[in-house]
């Protein structure tokens, strides 16, 4: 039997030290040993039974329950004051066989895998790589669990693909303690797995595009994400280049994404007419306190996989003194005018080295990111056409009302179909500010104040925006969710309410959901809203 250890922890913290947050109890579930239960499906179902038991216990005690994996989110999205469930050890991996496929599916079984929630991006990448496959995109690193990744919408900078949730084609949720609370969701326009398989995991199948898209970036509020079915592609390589280019050129590329007609080009990455190829990934790094005429940019081009290429890993990887980061924060708090100089000092350790070209797989390029001390990150999503204007405004904010101890970057991601994806513009520019966590004082703006001012500035300049669910923001800002998502936020609440009972909706809520005003239970949802719509593949 899967078993769960119980730890009365008192406080819980994120990986990046954004807490601590008061928490009564941490639960950690470990799967039955493979030798005792060799069948993956049997162990998977055994884990479902255990999760349902834990949900019943939480309900019986009138307490909330929130699952989390790697705790990488910097916001309080993963936190619950009552019961937190660590699921990082729930990592069953099931390659889909031809017998598991729905008859009229458009998917190939070789590209489909069912991953239990606690598998990390790195685990998944390595597992599929051994089968000649690759993820289609990932975040900037690889430590997030798949359950957490899709619930918060992690993204890289895949201009023409999207975020991690965009390669998910099925979601297995546990919405409560009853056997009938095991549900498997797919889009009705993209069915994938057949009844024989879904029966084997005891799941009630709902094929419904609206419900699927709402639950996809579910913020942990649609139930316990037990597993996801993902679509992979043939493995590929990325040629990564780092260059210094003029600010004007970097911003023009950000606003137009027109690499063909740009003066910027990598000599080996051009078409037959000598025009620039469209990259897989584009990122701009900005030191807001630097008056240099250039920005550092990172571009990556997708190439067919080959076995022989130079090892992309450096032989030696150094790290800054652990206490240096804390010291940096303390100096910044006390002497705010030192921030630009401190950033300049660390620039070489933080920014990628120009002209340092490497080739590697997606998993090799977006590799491990170790803990480097207390960190913050704010990230706003805007239409890429607004990126130049938004950058100018937010740099001005940091310069005039700050400084704050962080540097800016811009990444670009294709729109997601998820109802509450923050990558909701045709191509979203994720404008992010990363840095050392600091406390405000009478002389210096706090992170909370800075986050609020970011929203003020974007609103007052009529720039539509979203906020990364897993990063720091002023989540209690009045009318924020309505401003960012409009009717989509209402739709999301309706789908959630139709899927859950009032009691289980409360079980899967937390302070984050209340702060953002998404915890409301809608009693009178439209009839038939979450009915399964039978196989209409497009």
């Amino acid at each position: 039997m899967a078993h769960t250890s119980i730890h009365p922890i008192g406080t819980w913290d994120t990986f990046h030290n954004n807490g601590p947050f008061p928490t009564k109890t941490l639960y950690k579930t470990t799967l039955e040993e493979k030798g005792n239960m060799p069948s993956d499906i049997e162990r998977y179902n055994d884990a479902s039974v255990e999760i349902r038991r834990l949900l019943k216990d939480a309900l019986d005690h009138g307490e909330g329950f929130r699952a989390y994996g790697s705790a990488w989110s910097m916001s309080h999205i993963a936190h619950h004051k009552d019961r937190m469930h660590y699921n990082g050890e729930m990592n069953i991996k099931i390659p889909v066989s031809a017998e598991m496929l729905e008859q009229n599916t458009s998917f190939k079984n070789q590209n489909l895998y069912l991953f239990e929630c606690g598998n990390t991006i790195k685990e998944i990448s390595e597992f599929v790589f051994r089968r000649g496959q690759s993820l289609k995109a990932s975040g900037a690193s690889n430590g997030q669990t798949i359950g957490g990744s899709i619930s918060t919408g992690i993204h890289g900078s895949a201009l023409d693909f999207g975020s991690v949730q965009d390669f998910v084609v099925g979601i297995n949720l546990i919405t409560g303690p009853a056997e009938s609370d095991i549900v498997y969701l797919e889009r009705h326009t993209q069915p994938a797995l057949n009844k024989t398989f879904t029966d084997s995991i005891g799941a009630r199948v709902i094929r419904n595009d609206g419900l699927f898209n709402a639950a996809l970036v579910g913020l942990g509020a649609f139930g316990f994400v037990h597993s996801v079915l993902i679509e992979t592609e043939d493995r590929f390589l990325l040629n990564r280049y780092v260059r210094k280019i003029s600010k004007e050129e970097a911003i023009q590329l950000a606003e137009t994404l027109n690499f063909k007609d740009s003066n910027f080009r990598i000599s080996t990455e051009v078409d037959a007419e000598g025009k620039g190829n469209r990259p897989f990934h584009y990122k701009v790094f900005i030191n807001p306190y630097n008056n240099d005429s250039d920005y550092v940019v990172e571009v990556m081009y997708k190439k067919p996989y080959r076995e022989v290429y130079e090892d992309p890993f450096p032989r030696i990887k150094t790290a800054l003194y652990k206490d240096l980061i804390i010291l940096f924060g303390k100096i910044a708090e006390r002497y705010k005018n030192s921030i630009p100089k401190l950033i300049k000092l660390l620039e070489k350790d933080v920014l990628p080295k120009p002209d340092d070209d490497v080739t590697g797989t997606l998993a090799e390029i977006f590799w491990d990111a170790p803990h480097q001390g207390p960190a913050f990150a704010c990230s706003v999503g805007i239409d890429h056409r607004d990126s130049g204007k938004a950058l100018q405004l937010l740099v001005k904010l940091a310069r005039e009302e700050g400084p704050i101890p962080g540097i800016y970057a811009m990444r670009f991601v294709k729109a997601s179909k998820a109802t509450l994806a923050f990558t909701r513009f045709p191509v979203t520019c994720m404008l992010e500010i990363d840095g050392v966590l600091w406390k405000g004082n009478k002389n210096m703006l706090s992170l909370e104040q800075f986050s609020e001012r970011m929203i003020d500035v974007l609103k007052s300049n009529n720039i539509p925006f979203t906020l990364h669910w897993g990063k720091n923001a002023a989540w209690s800002y009045p009318g924020l969710i309505q401003h960012m998502y409009g009717t989509d936020a209402v739709k999301w609440k309706e789908y959630r309410s139709a899927l859950l009972s009032r009691q289980t909706a409360s079980l899967f809520s937390n302070t984050f959901l209340e702060d953002i005003q998404l915890s409301e239970y809608v009693a009178d949802t439209p009839p038939g809203l979450i009915d399964s719509i039978e196989n209409i593949p497009v």
């Binding site: 913290d13 990592n91 685990e123 390595e126 001390g373």
Partner: protein, 119 residues
């Protein structure tokens, strides 16, 4: 209160002892990390830096060898995948102890992390 001023030789001795103390504390570590594989997690490990969130096993012992023995192997158990990372610490005291005992006493300070069990 009448506090005696340390005499010059005593001051020298104190300085030497302080220097020796510092030298004995001087040490460095070497960490070897597998670029492949995922470390075994430990959500209760809230330490800062590389080991945060990882399940760490520490060995801090002194191995004594017999007259005819020249080397030893430490046997440790990891999951099927093996080791994710290993860090050994070299201390001046350890080098000194090994030197004065002709290699018969060896201080071992190791931290390691296993690979996460694959399911």
């Amino acid at each position: 209160m009448n506090i005696k001023k340390p005499t010059r030789p005593r001051l020298l001795l104190l300085s030497l002892l302080a220097a020796l103390f510092l030298v004995l504390q001087s040490c460095y570590s070497v960490r070897l990390v597998n670029t492949r594989g995922v470390p075994e997690p430990d959500p209760l490990n809230n330490s800062s830096g590389f080991y945060r969130g990882k399940k760490v096993i520490e060995i801090d012992t002194t191995i004594s060898l017999k007259l005819l023995q020249s080397e030893f192997t430490l046997l440790e158990k990891c999951n099927e995948g093996g080791f994710h990372s290993l860090e050994y610490r070299v201390t001046f005291g350890g080098v000194l102890l090994s030197g004065i005992t002709f290699g018969k006493k060896r201080i071992v300070k190791i931290k390691y992390v296993c690979l996460k069990e694959s399911n």
